[in-house]
Point group: C2
Chain length 241, copies 2
């Protein structure tokens, strides 16, 4: 993720950025499915001797966070799901991926993460400048094998019959997306919100899959507020008065 987000969050709490197996600076072969990716993420957390963490999952990372919340609930304190979707939530990802590949360079980046308005695109260009800064550049390349494996994992997740029972995610959860996420579809964030008890849904104006990069300050403020405050615990929901 990009420094305007992660460095800002790291001002007040410990942030561990994680390239999963085969991604950019991490060796190994990227699995082509979410459950194995989640296992690898859990192994990473275990290897660091971390027993409980807040998990921020963006896009494919949000699928992994959902899977981890089900299979390893004791590892998770709170969850932030950004630009993501439930299993079975979409079927148009391959079309989006094809359209995406028809764009080149900066236009590909803007098409993927921002809306076509001048407002959104200007924020996209600022974001691209941050990514292209030398300090970030060395870690941003993915092999074509990894891209293919990730695309397969995303497509499978979005088109499979849901096996993950989102109602079982009993952690405080913050769901964030842009108004016009054409990749994983904004309505999927609403669906996640309806199913995950104790979740909050925040949707941002005139923004797409890269909403967190379009409004980095607001996004960071929302994450910190959610992580700092004891807003709501779904564990209490069934308590009868």
């Amino acid at each position: 993720m990009i420094g305007a987000v992660t460095n800002a969050i790291a001002k007040t709490r410990k942030v561990i950025l994680f390239n999963n197996t085969g991604v950019a600076s991490t060796s190994g072969v990227t699995p082509d499915n979410v459950p194995e990716m989640a296992k690898d993420a859990v192994s990473f957390i275990n290897a660091l001797n971390i027993t409980k963490a807040d998990i921020l999952g963006y896009s494919l990372g949000g699928f992994i966070a959902q899977q981890m919340a089900i299979t390893d609930p004791e590892l998770t304190r709170k969850i932030i799901l950004v630009g993501t979707a439930p299993q079975g939530g979409f079927s148009s990802f391959l079309d989006f991926f094809k359209n995406m590949k028809m764009h080149k360079g900066a236009e590909k980046f803007l098409f993927t993460f921002f809306t076509p308005t001048g407002n959104s695109r200007s924020k996209g260009i600022e974001s691209l400048k941050r990514i292209n800064a030398p300090v970030n550049r060395k870690d941003s390349f993915l092999s074509s094998e990894t891209i293919q494996a990730q695309a397969h994992a995303i497509h499978s997740w979005g088109t499979m019959k849901p096996f993950i029972i989102l109602e079982e995610i009993m952690k405080p959860t913050l769901i964030i997306n842009g108004s016009d996420d054409e990749m994983l579809l904004t309505i999927n964030s609403y669906k996640l919100f309806q199913k995950i008890r104790g979740s909050l849904l925040f949707l941002y104006p005139d923004s797409a899959h890269g909403a967190l990069f379009q409004y980095p300050e607001m996004f960071v403020d929302h994450c910190n507020y959610f992580l700092d405050k004891d807003l709501y615990n779904p564990q209490y929901q069934d308590y009868e008065l």
Copy 2:
């Protein structure tokens, strides 16, 4: 509205609470439709010589705020729409109203504004204690004529073919509701968000039509953040890069 919300907002900005025509302490006959209610609200603002204001509209007040934003856009700086709906957004209000009338006293209040969980009901009881405090009590009675006129206005708004073009609301707008608003339906807040350019949508967990009273601190924090920051202006949306 209730002191936990309005007094808290009034700590950092001027708040004017407004009983519209025929409501509680205000004399006159309550109109049975939203456009006339909006005219009365505009007259009130004009009479105070206010030329621009932030408008917070809750429930029926949210319909009035939408109408004012269309007919008198120059009066409005930013808009907060809470527990509300677009024209044509629902048809089950009369059923809800009938069910509501089958409950009495505290149970009627809890049924109307909170979910059936212990978590939500306990916050509802706290809210009721605040309302019943002597300082608030004197202004909370509505005549049966006013209740009937408001119910007619709400039902008409929800079942009419939409005349209000929400796309024309070109003001920064914050939309807030609970996860389970059975009165005006949570999905209507999502619909408002989709149509009003430059709007943000925040939905709160395990809460109903009274979400703002269930989470008064968070609600106030969100209102202040939205009113203080220059997050997004829909006027810039069509600027081409």
